[in-house]
């Protein structure tokens, strides 16, 4: 594959990954606001992990494609996998139930573990194609940069909603393990 073609391909793959992560986060918001489910501290940490998974990809899209940026996303995917695995272990004993609602029969933390595992594999697979990291003298197209910046702006909005939501739930203290109601109302 040509260097330019590979670069454009991986730019697009990174953007699609970011859109996929945004959809996952929007599903989590849907459970919180539409079904009135309070996110537990581990759930919030899994959300944080998804944001950080998008962080490295975002740096790939806005700055330039680098192996380092993929590594940042891989570290975040490991963090998310550990967090969701811990939550799965909390409910592993038969009869202990689960936390929150289910989606297609699985709890959100189980989906989270599956997604972070798949994301980790996809990141390592992307690292196999090293022509994408070759430095080019020609600048990137404006369209790529504008879409990238638009995606960053979308993530900033999602993050600000999370800042307000987690402040309403926990204030500035540690979040309770089993939150029942918001402690601050706006």
């Amino acid at each position: 594959m040509e260097v330019q073609t590979e670069k454009e391909l991986f730019d697009s793959v990174n953007m699609l990954d970011i859109i996929g992560i945004a959809i996952v986060l929007l599903v989590a918001f849907c459970f919180q606001f539409h079904y009135s489910e309070m996110p537990c501290p581990l759930c919030l940490l899994q959300r944080f992990g998804f944001f950080m998974m998008a962080y490295g990809l975002m740096m790939n899209v806005v700055f330039t494609l680098r192996a380092r940026n993929y590594a940042l996303s891989a570290i975040a995917a490991l963090f998310t996998a550990v967090t969701s695995l811990r939550q799965m272990f909390l409910h592993i004993v038969p009869g202990t139930g689960g936390y929150g609602g289910t989606l297609f029969g699985w709890h959100l933390y189980t989906w989270c573990f599956v997604f972070s595992g798949l994301f980790l594999m996809a990141t390592f697979f992307a690292l196999l194609f090293d022509k994408q990291f070759v430095k080019m003298t020609t600048p990137r197209t404006d369209t790529h940069e504008s879409i990238g910046r638009l995606l960053v702006a979308l993530f900033i909005i999602l993050l600000l909603v999370n800042v307000v939501g987690s402040y309403m739930e926990c204030g500035l203290a540690y979040c309770p393990d089993n939150p029942m109601h918001y402690i601050h109302n706006i």
Partner: protein, 52 residues
């Protein structure tokens, strides 16, 4: 604490938006470190009935 963690992450994404690569990297490190500390707190090793 969690709101603070998301605030640091927001600052990181803003650094990306304004093309401050070094600042974005530092904020990534700060967020992952703080997130890991919160994770260790919420894992609550004391409650685990395991022998390592």
């Amino acid at each position: 604490m969690m709101a603070l963690l998301f605030l640091i992450t927001t600052a990181g994404f803003s650094a990306i938006l304004f093309k401050q690569e070094k600042l974005a990297l530092w904020l990534y490190c700060a967020a992952i470190l703080f997130g890991s500390l919160l994770l260790f707190h919420h894992i609550d090793f004391g409650s685990l009935n395991i022998s390592l």
